[in-house]
């Protein structure tokens, strides 16, 4: 592990001075994850690519200011998450999804995803299953959606999530717990009373 850190440090140094090749090598390991995070946030490829590209440009330009106190990849993901949140706000989708359920519109949620829900035998094609799950995920409010995107879709630990979202581990714990419960409710088409 020591060797990897050393290489990363060297790459950061060179990239700080504007060496684009070093920068590309540096982001090699985190760009796929960054894209997957953005994709589940934005729900479409184009916006996700925009968010990721914007983030990496920002990262390259502000690399001289990276203080190396936090891990490099955590820093990257934090910027990507923020970029996605900013983009969502701009498009004002936030207003629609800011409550966990659109209270009057619970039925809308039910109808929207009803045709994709598991049939009587409870089985779905794998692809349809994934689509259904992603759609259910999208119905969550951003603060719950993002912890599940990080934890279950991208495998980050509670520590890493706390670092990326800049909050306490306690917050992460309770958010994940609640997020999963809400997700379950949506998945099973239950209503909030």
């Amino acid at each position: 592990m020591g060797d990897i850190d050393q290489t990363e440090k060297e790459l950061i140094q060179k990239a700080k001075q504007g060496d684009q090749d070093s920068f590309e090598a540096l982001i090699l390991s985190c760009k796929e994850k960054a894209y997957n995070i953005a994709l589940r946030y934005m729900q479409n490829e184009e916006d996700a690519l925009d968010a990721v590209q914007e983030s990496f440009i920002k990262i390259f330009r502000h690399l001289p200011k990276f203080n190396e106190q936090s891990r490099f990849d955590t820093w990257v993901y934090r910027i990507v998450v923020n970029a996605c949140n900013d983009m969502l706000r701009k498009s004002k989708k936030m207003k629609v999804i800011d409550t966990v359920y659109k209270n009057e519109e619970d039925e809308d949620i039910a109808f929207e995803i009803a045709d994709k829900a598991p049939g009587p035998d409870g089985l779905l094609e794998k692809k349809e299953e994934s689509e259904y799950i992603v759609q259910c995920l999208d119905k969550l409010s951003t603060e719950y959606k993002e912890v599940l995107i990080l934890r279950d879709l991208n495998g980050f630990s509670y520590d890493e999530i706390a670092s990326i979202l800049d909050c306490s581990i306690g917050t992460v714990k309770s958010k994940i717990s609640r997020a999963r419960q809400k997700f379950k409710d949506i998945y099973l088409l239950k209503r909030v009373i």
């Binding site: 590309e24 440009i57 879709l153």
Partner: protein, 289 residues
């Protein structure tokens, strides 16, 4: 361990985030409690379903697109920095010019002086900001090789009047008394500390009557810088309920802006968050970097 505690800990159990004691206590409870066991199974299933969602690969064109975007962005940034330095320098000299004129004409009228400064400031804020940032910048681009002040348009000179004599110097750095500014920086945080919500107008210049005359020129230039960034912040946050709590400038020319933003959280509750914005060389960004 009761059911309520257990339910809260189920997710952590699934993610293996419990310590040994907690884990065994929970398992003991689950063994004896059907309802909690059912809840655990359901949550586990949800988690596994989420984890089964496949990863998506980046499109092949991504690397190339990113490379060229970075190149474009770097080029633009250099141009922008140049414009910013020019703008700052002009702002300072402009005020020095006006100051000299008024000093000459209004020796005994300190009120008139304040008015002149305020007028000069407002002209700068209104005219110079928009002019410089829109029209003039194009001119500057096309005359890269000329000295900073050689780029003055003929119709600009009437604004500078007899102060033209000050502008013979080549290069912004000679004119710009940044070195002098630094000596004052201990006072700067006090000078520019905002209180509560700060609107886009210039603060009351009567506060500055205690500052030495030489200092007023630099302050006006820094006032122009601050206004420039504040304008950018207003632009960025125009859809948000926000107020600027405080702002200050460091020796190296970096500005910090403390902004409070009210957001809608879960179930329509209002959440207040504090953000820090950083301004440098004409660029503004949020301090998550």
């Amino acid at each position: 361990m009761n059911c309520i505690d257990v339910r809260e800990m189920l997710s952590m159990y699934i993610d293996d985030e419990l310590d040994t004691n907690e884990r065994s206590e929970l398992e003991v409870h689950l063994a004896g409690c059907d309802e909690c066991m059912r809840e655990y199974d359901a949550l586990l299933e949800m988690t596994l379903l989420l984890r089964a969602v496949p990863r998506v690969s980046l499109p092949v064109s991504f690397d190339e697109r990113l490379r060229s975007s970075i190149e474009t962005s770097t080029r633009k940034q250099l141009e922008y920095k140049k414009r910013w330095r020019t703008f700052s320098a002009i702002a300072a000299v402009f005020v020095i010019g006006i100051f000299s004129i008024t000093m000459y004409n209004h020796m005994d009228h300190t009120d008139g002086l304040q008015d002149e400064l305020r007028y000069a400031q407002n002209r700068m804020s209104a005219d110079r900001h928009s002019q410089w940032m829109d029209g003039r910048m194009n001119h500057i681009d096309s005359r890269q090789s000329e000295s900073t002040f050689g780029r003055m348009e003929l119709d600009d000179r009437h604004l500078y009047g007899s102060a033209e004599g000050h502008m013979g110097h080549p290069g912004a750095d000679d004119i710009m008394p940044f070195g002098v500014m630094n000596n004052m920086d201990q006072e700067v945080p006090q000078m520019y500390a905002g209180q509560g919500s700060r609107p886009m107008t210039v603060p009351d210049t009567s506060e500055r009557s205690t500052v030495t005359r030489g200092g007023i020129n630099q302050n006006e230039a820094m006032r122009a810088e601050a206004d420039f960034y504040l304008r950018l912040i207003e632009e960025k946050l125009r859809y948000y309920n926000h107020s600027i709590i405080d702002y200050w400038r460091y020796e190296d020319g970096v500005w910090n802006f403390q902004v409070e933003i009210k957001l809608f959280g879960e179930s329509h509750a209002m959440v207040t968050k504090m953000y820090m914005f950083v301004g440098q060389d004409g660029e503004l960004w949020r301090k998550d970097l």
